[in-house]
Structures are given as C-alpha cells and as structure tokens.
C-alpha cells in the first residue's frame, strides 16, 4: 500500500493539485453537462491510468460527450464499439497485446487495458461480457461510471438506480414510490468472481480515486472499480453541488469508499460520524417526493448495509481464496 502513497492519501480532505500529474488525457472541449461529476472522475482516472494505456469505452454519456466525429477528447488510444460489449472488446485488445509482445512486435512496455462504461452498460446490458472477462482472468481494469440511471437517453431507471429515486421510467405516483428496488450490488458481484482488486471511488475524494485507479491498473489480472458519478441533470441537483453531493454520499454511508484486495475488504475513507441520510437526499430533486417514513426506511436500510460492510472489513478471513497458479502454468 505504501508503494502507492496510499495510506497517506486518506488523511487529506482537500487535494493539492501540485502533487498530482499535470498530464491531461481527457481534454477540455467535450460536451458534458455543467457540473458533471463523471467528467471530473474520468479526467482524474485517466491521469492515474497514465500514458501507456488503451481504453475501450461503452456507449453512454461519456462516449457521446467526448467523441463526436471528427473530434475527440481522448488523448489515449480509444475505441468505442457498442453498449454491452466493452469488456469483450477489452479482452480482444488484451489478447492481441499478449501476442504482439510474444512475437516481439511491441515497442515499449505492455500497455494497460482499461474498459469503461456507465451503470447501465455495466450492471444491466454489459453484465454478461463483464462477467466473462473477469472470469477469464483478463488482465484489464473495468471502471463503471455510476450515475445511477440511463442519463444519456433521458434519465431512465437502471438496476443501479437507488431505492425511491424518481426517473422517467420509475416515476413516483399513486401506486409507485419511484424506483422500487434496491441498488444492485455490482461490487459484490465483482468480488464473487474472485478477482484480485475491487473498489469503490468518488469524485468527492480525488486522492482516493487516483490511487485506487492506479492500483487497479497496476494489479495483474482483472480489477473492477465503481465510481459514483454525480449527475446534476439526472439527479435534479444544483450544478455547483456535484462534489459536495459526492462527499455527502460517503458521509451518509450511502456510498462508502472501500477496496477489496484478494478478497479482503478495507474501508479507505472512514467518516468520523455518519450524517443523517436527509443531508444527502434533500439537495436532490429525484428524492423530493419521498415521505418521512420512506426516508426513515432508506436510513435504516443504509445503516444496516454499512454495518455489514464494516463487519466484512473486520473479518479475519478474505471473501475467497485467491488463485495463484504455480510457475509456468
């Protein structure tokens, strides 16, 4: 951990930009909405990924805002194919690089392979190809930009939409609370594949995000990160609150920041005191319709889940036995 300066990173609650790389790989001029927390996360994730990398991106907000022909915001070699297949595209790139390396056709060190997609492209339509790539032990990092709905198509619900949230296909009404299901636990699904590195990150904690992405790309084998991507357009929140909301998500235990290394859970940002869930829900129009008892339910459920996470972090044994193949296999 010290290798990455990681333990120190969580002591900061502001970041000192002079300590971070000045290289920009996700450049200005893209068309994301004002206050887009995702664009901020992409920019910092790309700094952590570094120059020697190839990125495959799913269809979605970040693809659409950044790659309108004949322009591009990406300084990395970057490929977009379709919505649900990014992990498969990344698998192909990774396999090709291995062949090129074996045949001595690669100039320079083996590039990192990174796949990126939104929450719909990850936990819904892209789940199969992601699972396949994780199971095949593909040497790549998958980053999910989780803005908790299909924002690009007009704020429809996904399996990552939080309970109670209003979207255009989970509207609250006489017979509906809004989103009626709890957010799908993609991190647990990733962990269940027995992969060496899984984490959550947030644009509210850029040091934490930076070091996690760096760690993920430097981990041999598959790595998975969900990054909460605050979305003023879809969350119906003020555009100057994106970073604040990202921090509130962690401070209220809605989106705890942790990592799972070889099956071992560790909280990376520990809020001194968990704030009431209202602090997080109130600035967001998507939760405006919730009544007191519904907020109370979400509060209880959130704390219960947070407790389970803390228990996992305390567990004396990892979630799975990491597979370390014998030499020469």
């Amino acid at each position: 951990m010290e290798k990455f300066g990681y333990a120190e990173s969580t002591k900061f609650d502001t970041y000192a930009s002079r300590m971070m790389p000045r290289d920009e790989f996700f450049t200005s001029g893209h068309r994301s909405c004002q206050g887009c927390g995702e664009a901020l996360a992409v920019r910092w994730a790309c700094k952590a990924i570094g120059k020697n990398a190839i990125i495959a991106h799913a269809t979605g907000c970040m693809e659409i805002v950044s790659s309108g022909m004949p322009q591009t915001a990406w300084m990395h070699p970057w490929i977009h194919v379709a919505f649900e297949n990014t992990s498969a595209v990344a698998s192909g790139i990774e396999a090709a690089l291995r062949v090129l390396e074996r045949k001595g056709k690669l100039k320079g060190p083996l590039p990192k392979v990174v796949a990126m997609g939104g929450d719909g492209g990850t936990s819904d339509i892209g789940l199969q190809s992601l699972s396949g790539a994780l199971e095949r032990n593909t040497n790549f990092t998958y980053i999910c930009w989780d803005n908790e709905a299909y924002m690009n198509t007009g704020i429809q619900r996904s399996s990552a939409t939080p309970f109670g949230a209003m979207t255009t296909t989970s509207p609250p009404g006489k017979r509906s609370i809004g989103q009626s299901t709890w957010k799908k636990d993609m991190v647990a699904i990733a962990v269940a594949h027995g992969i060496p590195y899984v984490a959550t990150a947030s644009p509210g904690y850029l040091f934490d995000l930076y070091f996690k992405v760096k760690k993920a790309v430097e981990t041999p084998g598959p790595a998975y990160i969900t990054i909460l991507s605050t979305c003023p357009t879809g969350w119906r929140s003020a555009t100057d609150l994106s970073v604040r909301l990202a921090r509130l998500a962690t401070e209220t235990a809605v989106f705890p920041l942790f990592e799972v290394v070889d099956g071992k859970y560790r909280l990376t940002v520990e809020p001194p005191k968990i704030r009431p869930i209202r602090d997080y829900l109130k600035p967001q129009g998507r939760f405006r319709h919730l009544r007191d008892h519904e907020v109370e339910f979400i509060q209880k459920q959130t704390l219960a889940r947070y407790k389970l996470l803390l228990d996992k972090c305390q567990a004396p044994f990892p979630e799975f036995a990491p597979v370390h193949l014998p030499e020469g296999t």
Binding site: H76, V81, E84, A96, S131
Partner: protein
C-alpha cells in the same frame, strides 16, 4: 506451377482450421455452436500445442466473440472467428460495426438454419439475415474451396485498398462434417502468398487514435457512402487475389461460376454445396438432349452484376434455387437479387424462384430435373406464383 498435387483426406472443418493455421492467424475469439464446433476445437488444440502462435479467447457468447475480434483487429493482429446460425444472429449488432470500422477480420460461417423451430441443419437463412452487414461474402462448394478461400480471405480483407471483414460460407454438416480429399499447401508457399498483417491503423499508445466516434447527420451519409464504395471497389482486388492463387495452385475461381452453359436455354442457379449435386443433374439432362446449364454465385458481396449478366446471356429460363425464405416477401433473397440485376436489360429471361433444402432437407439430383420441367411448364402457361417452395409435404 501445380506443385501441390498430393491430396489429403480429412474432415472439411479440419482443413479449414489448417488453412487458418497456415494463414498464421494471431488471435481467435469464438463461442461453440453446431456445426462450427470442429473448426474451433481443432484450432484450440493447435494453439494449445504451440502449433499456432496465437491467442484463443473462449468468450461467453458470439456477441462477445465478434466484439473481442474487433478489439484484436483494432490492436493490430490477424484475427479469425467462426460461427453459425443463432451465433451469427447474436453477432448481428456487432458485425455492422466491424465492417464500418474497416477491420479485416475473417469469419467462417458454417451455414445453418435459423430457429424456429430450432434446427441445427443446413440452409442459408443465417447468412441471408446478415446480407447487408457490409462484409465481403464468399460461398464455397466443397472442402477444397473452403480451404482455399479461408487463406485467400485474409489477403483480400487485409489489402489496404479493401480493409473489409470477409465471410467464407460453407454448408453446415454437408461440408463441415464430411471427409474430403484436399490439396494442402506448405507453410513456405502460403507465407510467400500471404505476408505478415500490416494494420492500416491500430490502437497504440505511441500514436493514439480514436476509433468508433459517432457521426451526426451531416457526416453519417458520407460514412455510409465511403463504406459502399469500399465494398464495391473490393471487386478488383478480390479478382487479383483469386488470379494469383490460380497461378499458384491451378485452382481458378470466378465471382460467378458456370457449368455447361454453352447453348443452354434453361439455367439453374444456386450458391454453396448444392452446386455439385446440380452438376450431376445437368449432366443427366444434357445426356437426354435438354439444353440445361448451371450458374453458381461465388461472390455474394460485392454482388457481381456484370458477371451474372454475362453468364445468363442467351438463357430463356432461369431457375433460381434459394436456401432461405424472405417471409412475407416477393421472393427468396437470391431470386430477388438476380431479378433485380436482370431487370434493366432489354432482353431478359423468365426468372423463376424455388426455395429448396431448408433446415437440412436433402436435395437429390432428380429434384433439379423436376424443377426444370416445372419451370418450363409454368413459363408456358404463365407463372402461377411469385415463387415456389420445393418439396413441401401435405
């Protein structure tokens, strides 16, 4: 230059996988589906034993197979896959993107019926559902052709004047699972014929590019036009490669193949392995003094309009045999194509369409004699139907 006369008996699927080995494919992604399986099984073992220096990615679906192939080809390696039927249907979304991105992937399609009802047996409904995907599409008639075209396809696809993915069709079971005698090639000859893959552009951190950017309405039509021109213009390079192969092996291939068409008043047409069955029928009818000939389309895309018109010149009746249905439409896909190609001509034959051999239904030489008699009678009295389905019971 016909130095490779030794013929080796092997299953056609094995011959195809040896062709891919000789072509030195560097990356393969495939998902098992009958009747493509023997090809990818054998390739797996070639890779496992180090006889083919390649990565074989055992993806979790055909959708991911084609997606992984895109990643492989975009990263700059020679890429191969094989599929069939439902697998090609599942890939459908991605195969359009493959050709639009101009990635020279080679794919074998072991032609099989599309469900439903589920049928693992041979017809052409899988490839006909993928007719407009913007790939070069070639049909083969026997094991030797499947072997030859599997090597030539790489050279065609990777030509910088072409840069288009290419499908080699061979009939499921009827070819894939049959043992035939093949004239094999040695590695040196193939290496001379097919040099190392030189990608036109690739994903490379030393020289970053963006691939798969989206197009607004002011650019989309131009992108499609460019694709259309690339596919149409691939005709020349395709012929060059086939001619070079002909000189090398003595096996010559044409976009439209003809058999005993001299003086033929009736011409039977089809694609794929039925051609050999029809040859037997044509011989028998010629022996009876019936002026019948045979025309087989090898190059389905880009469609060889001029070759077809030349091949059909002088015919009074053309009997087109389709191995697929255009449900609710006016014709089978090949019939529609042939009619549309012949329509602008001032003098044109009567063109009748028959759908035969769906879902593995066997077609014997006698069937073609029956079709010719039926077509002659129909023309005499005026065609009673838009097209006919041959051999339906009940």
């Amino acid at each position: 230059m016909m130095a490779h006369k030794k013929r080796v008996g092997m299953e056609v699927s094995i011959a195809v996988s040896h062709a891919v080995q000789l072509a030195r494919a560097e990356a393969i992604a495939a998902y098992p589906i009958t009747p493509q399986t023997h090809i990818v099984e054998h390739l797996s073992s070639l890779v496992a034993n180090g006889d083919l220096e390649a990565e074989f990615v055992t993806v979790e679906s055909e959708h991911s197979a084609m997606s992984a192939c895109i990643g492989m080809s975009a990263a700059g390696v020679r890429t191969y896959t094989a599929t069939s039927s439902q697998g090609l249907a599942l890939m459908n979304e991605i195969v359009f993107i493959t050709s639009a991105m101009r990635l020279p992937i080679v794919m074998t399609v072991a032609n099989r019926a599309l469900s439903g009802p589920l049928s693992i047996w041979n017809d052409h409904s899988d490839i006909m559902a993928a007719r407009d995907i913007g790939w070069i599409q070639i049909f083969t008639e026997n094991g030797q052709e499947a072997f030859d075209h599997s090597i030539m396809a790489f050279k065609i696809a990777e030509d910088h004047r072409v840069l288009l993915p290419t499908i080699v069709n061979l009939d499921g079971f009827i070819l894939t699972h049959v043992v035939e005698a093949h004239e094999m090639m040695d590695q040196k000859t193939v290496d001379r014929f097919l040099p190392e893959f030189k990608p036109y552009h690739k994903l490379d951190p030393q020289k970053p590019v963006t691939m798969g950017a989206f197009a607004m309405p002011e650019l989309f039509t131009e992108c499609k036009m460019a694709h259309q021109m690339a596919l149409t213009n691939s005709y020349g390079p395709i012929l060059e490669v086939w001619q070079e192969w002909g000189k090398l092996t003595g096996r010559h291939y044409q976009p439209v193949e003809t058999y005993r068409t001299e003086g033929a008043k009736v011409i039977i047409m089809m694609m794929g392995s039925l051609g050999q069955v029809a040859e037997v029928a044509v011989d028998a009818m010629r022996d009876q003094g019936i002026p019948v000939g045979l025309v087989k389309i090898r190059l389905w895309r880009p469609f060889p309009f001029a070759d077809l018109r030349a091949a059909l010149a002088g015919a009074e009746i053309v009997v087109v045999c389709d191995r697929a249905l255009s449900l609710g439409g006016a014709a089978g896909p090949v019939l529609a194509e042939v009619r549309s190609a012949m329509y602008p001509l001032a003098v044109k034959p009567q063109i009748l369409g028959y759908t035969v051999g769906l879902g593995g239904r066997d077609v014997q030489p006698e069937a073609f004699e029956e079709l010719v008699r039926h077509a002659q009678a129909e023309v005499k009295q005026g065609p009673s139907q838009e097209y006919y389905i041959y051999g339906v019971r009940g």
